[in-house]
């Protein structure tokens, strides 16, 4: 990074025609540096500050409740509880990175989970439930995407409308009743017998979605276009990117994540209920933002979002283990959001200076 900066000094109208050998070697080192950074988890300052928060929480948990907190079962518990909202947050991160917002995620999770657990769907067993959850999620995402990309609606409004109607439809399907799942192959995925080397299947799915999400955002044309659309939609359009199609895909992706999350929730809760996914939209947005994704778009980090989710889940866990009540939990959650963002802004400023 240093060498090219000094070259900038000599830049200008009379710049050297072709860089000398020396600069070619520095170029190589710069590339290697990029390559090294790309191999790692790209732990930039934003993620570092959040890792610090997480580490501090682990210390607090370990001191206050050493036996219960520092325990394999508890690790499984925290990761399992993080899985459902985590998958939603990965989708949300893409949408926010593109400069959009999806307020309907919680409602889509609710609708997918109840549609996939009606008596009619349950007749088709495991595949029927999984298929329905994913297709309903995609369907809602498709409607969101079409309204926003081709209907010219503001994402806030379009997804707010989806929030209302998906919740309404979920209520209509269930009539307020809890739909118990009786398909054993689905239920079995939630109990310890199904754990793979001690890892719950839900956590495996969450991990897979995270890794795929990270790869897609950082290593594919789709991810690059998402960032471009979020950074400057007009520039992206004039650079030849089909911005509208990209937006459509993004809301489809968010819907897909909601469908997967709904399936995980069905496994976890052993049922479908229209109240599922309550306030997921706010939790997912909060996790993405404290993770370092810019609410205005153009910059997103899957690692940060997942850390954000883990921070929230760990707080809930520590508070519950210490038998603190929900009022204190909510206050602490608000404080953590403010603290994380403040720390992040400070470290970012220092990092840039």
């Amino acid at each position: 990074m240093k060498q090219p900066a000094s070259e900038a000094q000599q830049g200008g109208p009379e710049a050297a025609p072709e860089p000398p050998v020396l600069s070619a070697s520095t170029a190589k080192s710069a590339e290697e540096k990029g390559g090294w950074r790309s191999l790692g988890l790209r732990l930039d300052v934003r993620n570092l500050s959040l890792l610090g928060v997480l580490a501090a929480l682990i210390v607090v948990g370990g001191i206050t409740k050493p036996e219960q907190f520092l325990d394999t079962n508890n690790l499984q518990l925290v990761l399992t509880q993080a899985s459902v909202i985590g998958v939603v947050t990965v989708g949300m991160t893409f949408v926010i990175t593109s400069g959009g917002i999806d307020l309907s995620v919680g409602a889509i999770v609710a609708l997918s989970s109840v549609w996939a657990t009606t008596l009619a769907t349950q007749q088709y067993g495991f595949a029927g439930i999984l298929f329905t959850a994913v297709v309903v999620g995609l369907g809602c995402g498709l409607v969101n995407g079409l309204l926003i990309a081709y209907g010219g609606m503001v994402p806030f409004i379009a997804t707010l409308a989806m929030l209302a109607s998906a919740r309404g439809l979920a209520l209509q399907i269930t009539e307020g009743k809890t739909q118990i799942v009786t398909v054993n192959s689905v239920l079995d995925l939630g109990i310890p017998d199904s754990y793979v080397l001690g890892v719950p299947p839900l956590v495996l799915v969450f991990a897979a979605v995270t890794v795929i999400g990270w790869l897609v955002l950082n290593r594919t044309t789709f991810g690059r276009r998402t960032v471009a659309v979020g950074g400057n939609a007009e520039a992206a359009r004039l650079a030849g990117i089909d911005v509208r199609r990209q937006r459509l895909y993004l809301y489809l992706l968010s819907g897909l994540c909601c469908g997967i999350a709904a399936f995980l929730l069905i496994i976890l809760a052993g049922s479908g209920q229209n109240t599922n996914g309550n306030l997921y939209e706010l939790d997912a947005i909060a996790a993405a933002i404290i993770g370092g994704t810019l609410l205005s778009g153009g910059r997103g980090t899957i690692v940060g979002s997942v850390l954000g989710v883990l921070v929230f889940t760990t707080i809930t866990n520590i508070f519950a283990l210490n038998n603190l009540q929900s009022d204190v939990q909510q206050i602490a959650k608000g404080a953590i959001i403010v603290a994380a963002v403040l720390v992040q802004r400070r470290t970012m400023r220092n990092g840039e200076a």
Partner: protein, 510 residues
């Protein structure tokens, strides 16, 4: 007008400097305004007018220079500080609250109150009515919501708001842009009322004939510098004013044209047939051959950028079509144009071309992503290598593919945009004001790059408001006036004065 006696001197700004990352917006601007005059500020888009008035309004802090207000040096720390001194600014986008009434808008932030917080609505309405009457618009009702007023009436309300403070200087940024001729007449009457009361007005407009009608003196700025101070508005010939606005202050070095220009029989790579956008430009026909640079010359508002963007598919034509290599493009589709081999370097580089948070590489590769991808999976080292090859070909500095684009100078940012299309392998390059915001010294290098790209077989369509740039760089020139092509000729057959005559044709040219 005779030189001002010192006691009427209201404002002097001297040597004002303002730098933004990558560009020096103001590079020593001087301005001198007397009480009771209409002082016109002229300059092309990007010349620094907006920055200057923002400095004057207290919205930007200058990096250098002195501001003297009624004989005392002042610093304008904030818009409130400027307002306290008696400087009011009426921006192009009016900052009125549409849901509030006329009176509420006028007294927003300094409402007449009793006991410090109870707003005396009746008093405010009476005062508002008096102000509107003073401005010659008693027909505007003080209780009407501003949203229900016409653009012209809203402007009057803005002025009344300025007058509700003890204002001595009103800055008007293109006040006539949204008005029809009758409303402009009205506006001028109001301006005369103000100056008769001793209030000074800084009037910004592109319309030279307005300046002649209403202005007392003219200051021209170009590239962040004052190029003419206090010219008499009525007497200075239009051509001289235009020449000051557009003219060069440095002798540019233009690259040699190729010895053998592309033959007229060669197959055109771009053919535009009867392309029209109602309200913006009339049917345009043009052909572009490989290796050829064609220039579009015209004033702001002549339809230059609109034509370019319509060819590119960023605007949908009302009629006509665009063919690349003989195949018609889908109207209004940028992806279709890009696939066919068109590339655009747009006028507003930051707003329309660059991903400001991203690196040089990503800005260059953004239009060619599929090339580095297998089923969507990016080969990032191939991407970096290719992007770097393109930026090196254009001698982009710094030679660091990971540098953030926003840290680059204007000229190097423009090279990144050109590298984007070079990498994409485009056949037709559409350049809209390619040297806007580019330091004077870096322009020659850009000219050389553009010519070299043409020599390598690209067809270039160039839009510039700088007549010498069009004449120096292009092979052929189309002159535009009010959305119409009024003249076509090889560049060598034209000179600057001829082009200025053509673009101003119809205006009185003394």
């Amino acid at each position: 007008m005779a030189p001002a006696p010192p006691e009427t001197l209201l404002l002097t700004m001297s040597g004002i400097i303002k730098t933004f990352p990558g560009v020096r917006a103001l590079d020593g601007v001087d301005l001198e305004v007397q009480a009771g005059e209409v002082h016109c500020l002229l300059g092309q888009n990007g010349a620094g007018k907006s920055t200057l008035i923002k400095v004057l309004a207290g919205a930007h802090q200058p990096d250098g220079g002195v501001i003297t207000w009624r004989g005392e040096a002042v610093t304008l720390k904030s818009p409130i500080a400027a307002m306290r001194l008696g400087i009011a600014t009426i921006y192009q986008e009016l900052d009125l609250v549409e849901g509030l009434s006329v009176a509420e808008n006028i007294f927003l932030g300094h409402e007449p109150t009793s006991a410090g917080f109870v707003i005396k609505g009746r008093e405010a309405r009476a005062a508002a009515t008096a102000l509107l009457k003073r401005l010659g618009h008693p027909e505007i009702q003080a209780h009407t919501p501003v949203g229900e007023l016409s653009a012209a009436q809203q402007q009057i309300v803005s002025m009344a708001r300025a007058l509700s403070h003890d204002v001595r200087l009103i800055v008007m940024d293109e006040p006539s842009a949204a008005l029809d001729p009758d409303e402009v007449d009205n506006l001028f009457r109001v301006v005369s009322t103000l100056t008769a009361d001793g209030v000074a007005v800084i009037y910004i407009s592109h319309r030279l004939e307005e300046i002649r009608r209403i202005g007392d003196r003219v200051t021209v700025i170009k590239d962040g510098r004052t190029v003419a101070v206090a010219l008499p508005a009525k007497e200075t010939p239009t051509r001289e004013v235009v020449a000051l606005m557009t003219g060069r202050n440095v002798e540019y070095v233009f690259p040699e044209r190729p010895a053998a220009p592309p033959s007229a029989d060669a197959e055109p790579v771009l053919r535009v047939e009867g392309l029209t956008r109602t309200g913006e430009f009339e049917p345009v026909d043009l052909e572009l051959r490989p290796g050829e640079i064609v220039g579009l010359a015209g004033l702001v508002g002549s339809g230059r950028s609109e034509i370019l963007e319509t060819i590119y598919g960023a605007r949908k034509p009302t009629a006509g079509r665009v063919l690349v290599g003989g195949a018609p493009l889908r109207p209004g589709s940028v992806p279709s144009a890009v696939r066919a081999g068109l590339g655009l370097a747009p006028e507003e580089r930051k707003a329309q071309a660059l991903l400001m948070l991203e690196s040089v590489t990503r800005n260059v590769s953004v239009s060619s992503l599929p090339r580095f991808a297998r089923i969507g999976w990016l080969d990032r080292s191939a991407e970096r290598t290719a992007a770097r090859k393109a930026t090196r070909e254009l001698s982009l500095r710094p030679d660091n593919p990971e540098a953030r684009i926003r840290t680059l100078s204007g000229g190097n940012q423009q090279k990144a945009v050109l590298a984007r299309w070079l990498l994409r392998g485009c056949r037709v390059l559409l350049l809209d004001e390619p040297t806007r915001g580019v330091d004077v010294g870096a322009r020659a290098e850009l000219y050389a790059v553009i010519r070299r790209l043409a020599d390598e077989g690209l067809a270039v369509l160039l839009v510039s408001s700088e007549v010498p740039e069009v004449l120096g760089l292009a092979d052929r020139v189309l002159v535009l006036r009010e959305g119409r092509v009024v003249h076509r000729a090889p560049a060598q057959e034209l000179d600057e004065h001829r082009v200025l005559d053509l673009v101003m044709e119809g205006s009185p040219t003394p």
